[in-house]
Amino acid sequence: MTPNSETRGAPTAATAPRAVRVQLPHHLRTLARVPAEVVIEVGEPASLGSLLDALEARHPVLRGTVRDHVTRRRRPFVRFFACREDLSQEPPDFPLPAAVLSGAEPFLIVGALAGG
């Protein structure tokens, strides 16, 4: 897949909180009792880490399910996608893509294909 350079990590000039669409996997939806997609307000800096902070603040039951409580690292079988790119390995300060901040694209939290 070709990286989408127009959306990936593009900086944003806005300072007002952005409404980011976050899609959750089935088990986290049922846990948090929300539909497949939730809208999360993200302030500046609008990064991967601040989005997860805002998601957990809005839905405390999700703390520890996406990131480890102590290390704050992504759990091993959780993946992050946006704009058709895998952002799972990106650091917490990675800027959210412009298309995610504009609401054109959702931010996806996905359970990895694992098991057997």
């Binding site: 049922t30 846990l31 948090a32 839905h59 409580h69």
Partner: protein, 388 residues
């Protein structure tokens, strides 16, 4: 007439089985938490509609759920019931924060090297005998946690891992606190068991612990006959009226102690195999004990394909097979360590669940059996509540 409520944890959700005291006709509710592994569900002895459930999976980790209405509704717990759910109906709890106290340290790994402690899940929940908001939780990697606010927050009792924790080593099933027994006569005393580490006891409410494994023999795993830790204890059980008499299903061997664990004696007697997982004591007869023999540690199914519960009415040594109503051919299920329980009715009801998804009940001390359900996911745990 009394009622019974059977709390079943499975590989893919929890189920609640309810019947009146005759224990003939059953209502089944579930799956609760569909798709999640439910290692254990247990109710508070002092507030039976208060239930706690351990919910986990490999993707999203550990959740603790609580019900205050006997399992009809569940929430990740807050400190008070009205804090469980916000005005928008969404859970407010953060009940899954299990963090080892201080420097987590290391334990022995499979290859003999030291390996950091890593929290994986809660295997067993043991509600207090006196306070519905206090619960003990047995963790993998092995540690004991306690909540005193109804499950909202959990704190480790780190003294347990000071009991030679650096020598503990996981077995094939991991390294978990899988059994927690509270003493109804002495609130400062708790027993617990850890697979591949052994049995332990505290006499000061959980601050300090000592291994209680004298008399256990594990010649293949532990050539040192005096090894204090490293024994693969699968389960311990006791009668509340005689808390110092404990029974143990070890990896191999059925054991008994008369002195709260200071010295154990083998009571396997005439069992067809003394390998197995659960062990349970009759509700009204402190010397009547139940086990389910399994062929071996290599072949986790009943000997000869016959599912048999064995009962001793003499505290061990002499065992009789209980087979009526249980499959006596082509049966190759297992019964896991937390998957057997007794009710408090007279005659005593005995229950167990299998990895084949059956939950069996005997309403008459084990004399005859019938399946309550046949086709659940693999059963991880069975508890029973006797209700007015």
């Amino acid at each position: 007439m009394n009622k019974v409520r059977v709390l079943v944890g499975t590989k893919k959700g929890a189920f609640i089985l309810s019947a009146d005291g005759r224990r003939e006709h059953w209502d089944v509710s579930g799956p609760h938490f569909a798709g999640w592994e439910i290692y254990h569900v247990k109710g508070s002895p002092v507030e039976p509609d208060r239930l706690y459930a351990s919910q986990s999976n490999g993707w999203f980790g550990q959740i603790i759920q609580r019900s205050d209405d006997g399992g009809r509704s569940w929430n990740p717990p807050g400190s008070r019931p009205d804090e469980l759910v916000g005005p928008d109906g969404m859970p407010r709890g953060e009940s899954n924060k299990f963090v080892y106290e201080g420097e987590a340290g290391t334990h022995k790994w499979y290859d003999g090297t030291q390996h950091p402690w890593e929290f994986k899940r809660i295997w067993h929940l043991e509600p207090s005998l006196t306070d519905p908001d206090t619960v003990y939780a047995g963790a993998e990697d092995a540690a004991l946690f306690r909540t005193t606010d109804g499950g909202k927050t959990w704190k480790e009792l780190p003294g347990l891992r000071q009991a030679k924790g650096h020598l503990w080593q996981p077995g094939a099933g991991g390294m978990a606190v899988h059994t927690i027994l509270l003493d109804p006569q002495n609130p400062q005393r708790i027993w617990l068991a850890i697979s591949a580490a052994g049995a332990f006891r505290t006499d000061d409410g959980g601050q300090t612990w000592k291994p209680i494994n004298r008399g256990l023999k594990s010649p293949f795993e532990l050539p040192d006959p005096d090894a204090e830790v490293g024994h693969c204890v699968h389960r311990i059980a006791r009668h509340p009226a005689r808390p110092d008499v404990l029974y143990m299903q070890k990896h191999w061997d059925i054991m008994r102690t008369e002195d709260a664990g200071e010295q154990w004696t083998e009571v396997s007697g005439n069992l067809p195999s003394d390998f197995g997982f659960p062990i349970e004591v009759h509700a009204h007869e402190p010397a009547t004990v139940y086990v389910v023999p399994i062929k071996s540690d290599s072949e986790h199914f009943p000997p000869e394909g016959k599912l048999r519960v064995y009962r001793s009415r003499t505290g061990g040594h002499e065992w009789e097979a209980l087979t009526q109503g249980l499959p006596q051919r082509d049966c190759y299920v297992n019964v896991l360590r937390d998957a057997m329980a007794v009710d408090a009715l007279d005659p005593c009801g005995v229950y167990f669940g299998t990895t084949g998804g059956q939950v069996y009940v005997s309403p008459n001390n084990g004399d005859t059996w019938q399946p309550i359900v046949r086709d659940l996911p693999a059963v991880l745990s069975v508890e029973v509540q006797t209700l007015p």
